[in-house]
Amino acid sequence: MNDSAIVLTLAAAVAAGTPLALAALGELLTERAGVLNLGVEGMMLLGAVTAFLVGDATADPWLGLVTGMLTGGALAAVHAFLSVTMRANQIVAGLALVIFGTGLSTFLGQPVEGRPLTARITTAAVPVLADIPVAGRILFQQDLVVYATWALVLAATFYLTRTRAGLSLRAVGESPATADAMGVRVAATRYAHTIAGGLLAGAGGAYLILARVPSWSQAATTNGVGWIALALVVFSSWRPLRLLAGAYLFGAALRANFALQAAGVRGIPAEVLALLPYLLTIAVMIGLSFSDLRRRAGAPAALGLPYVRDER
């Protein structure tokens, strides 16, 4: 039972959904502050390549993870500077981040292209819980990052709904003028959450290379997961718990080969299913460009808008 195709598929979906969940959670925090960072893919790639290099050199995957987070955060800081301080067009700034992140990781990854990584994040089964039939195999025979993701999602939910800082964060995303008038530091809040978003995107990228992809390969590492993360934030209506569920759903779709076999479906090529997250992403991105749809989907009202105090 525990090794049935369905159970294995679900377990794989959780693992495949984790980098997505991390990156999307980061973007969720960023967007809740009213900053749109389309550069997730760039931050993930840079996080992945630096995690690989450090993990390879030190043989310590955790050091790699931390490095990946920091580089993701650094790239996000650039975005915060451009969009908060310089009030640049956030879409353009975000796309620039993708181009920069991709370019830099190609450059850094060139010498190690195709090289396998031996320092890896490995499975750490939770004692007792891992022995529960079915659920234990799906949920508790994973690695520490998977468990940490759950903790982060719960913490983010609590943070957003129950804490003083979470209230200020939401106000900054909904109405920065109000937050400002009430004494909330709008720019600082936006910086902090944009950078937090970068740290998580970097973690997502690092996790991909440290736990999922066996060797460094620019094209095969992120596979556009950063773009899917953007769509996932919208699907979740900017709520962490829904986001996690969505991530696992997309994770299952990304593992379409498995999933189809498991379901015993024939006739539909696995490629079609694997395409689904990308198609959905494109649809969501188009939908998002209509401000009315954005509002109805529950987007923060000031998403993507710079705040200028002296303006009427």
């Binding site: 129950r162 804490t163 003083r164 800082a165 209230l167 200020s168 939401r170 106000a171 909904e174 109405s175 003028a177 109000t178 937050a179 400002d180 008038a181 009430m182 004494g183 909330v184 530091r185 009202a301 105090r309 002296d310």
Partner: protein
Amino acid sequence: MSGQSASGARRSGADAASSAEAPVVEARGVGKVFPGVTANAGVDLAVRRGEVHALLGENGAGKSTLASILCGLYQPDEGTVLVDGRPVTLRNPRDGLARGIGMVHQHFRLVERFTVAENIVLGDRRQPLVLSAGRVRSAMVELGERYGLSIDPDARVGDLAVGEQQRVEITKMLYRGVDVLLLDEPTAVLTPQEADALFTTLRAMAADGKAVVLISHKLGEVLAVADRVTVLRDGRVVGAVAADATDRHQLATMMVGREVDLSPRRAQSPPGVAVLDVRGVSLRPPGRPARLAGVSLQVHAGEVVGVAGVAGNGQRELAEVVAGLRAPTEGTVVVAGRGTTGRGARAARGAGLAYVPEDRLGTGLAPSLSIADNLLLTRPLGFFVDRRTATADARCVIERFDVKATGPAAAVRGLSGGNVQKVLLGRELSDSCTVLVVASPTRGLDVGAIEFVRDLLDERRRGGVGVLLLSEDLDEIRALADRILVLFEGRIVLERAGGDADLTELGLAMAGAGA
């Protein structure tokens, strides 16, 4: 009408403010320049504890800018702000709040998706890191009782009416413990009743030793509620006077910078033939109370008939029936001898009726169209639009009515309230009409524009037009009307000649207690 009830409570708080004590907040020589405009120049203002201090000035005089400087939102380009006699630098509203200065902006600073309670605790660093709802609730109840501000803490702010949202704004500031509350044109969005309630709240705050700065361009409310008045014009202080040592006339002159004549105007010659005849008009929507019940009135050439009434008592419906926008359930409307009952706005206009609705940008004008296009709306249009004449007409109106706009192509949406009204009046009055229906024509305008509009209506009257003037504002009615009718719950309950109408009698009739 508004503010009368609060005036009794006045002065009680002012005694608490001894003149020896340093002003709680003061501006000295404050200047602020925006690209192309000097919003404030050399402004001095001193506000004491226990007083309601009015900041009076026409639109664009620099009132909001000054208040924004005092609360820390804007930094002055020159001059200093003093709190309790000591110079301070307020870098942002957070600094202002820390020193006990809070502002209720004209465009509310509220997060619509948040509940009332969430809006109130937002940014408050005294709250525990993990929020608890209980503390806010009990504080809100207490503030609500003390100042007459009751609101449901769990309501979503976006679902509240403007009057309630304003109470949230005030509660928010009181909860933050401000000593100085600046309110930017708070009555602009309120009904007269809500305004009275607000004034009671403000007086209660002053009586508690707080300082209230009330920004306004309405003379009546300033005189009714303030202890002292500082008048701004073109970014400079024209003078500061005690409210009981001044009057409307003096304030209006200071504000506008020239003599303004707001004295009542009446017909000089006896009225002519009836140009508007309304007989037995009723409006009974099925299953709901009647909006109008057997209203009959006549307007003669060269006469202004004023219809007073509290909003919701049928004035709007009456205006719409007369203008042909609604068909009455019973009764007839005759415009210049032609029956127009229920035949639509076009028929009424064809018979010589012009209509200036109260809702200027909703019903009166198309906000996103240009001035020229708006003027075209009531003209008979051929297949092709004659742009050249339209533009020339628009130029004409802009010039004659002194509309502040970039030109005939300017969108009406971008104009200030007074200029919007001028465009509307320009369109309705330049037609050769015999009957003019106007609803609250001076509502929201500043004194200079009010004088202008009154002059215009008076001029039309002398030109032989019959004017039906509907308004909630008794000052407005009494300033122009030759005859006054009071509408209450869809019936005419009182009729008086304009000259000898008694304010109390009219007020009581409007409230349904008269006759």
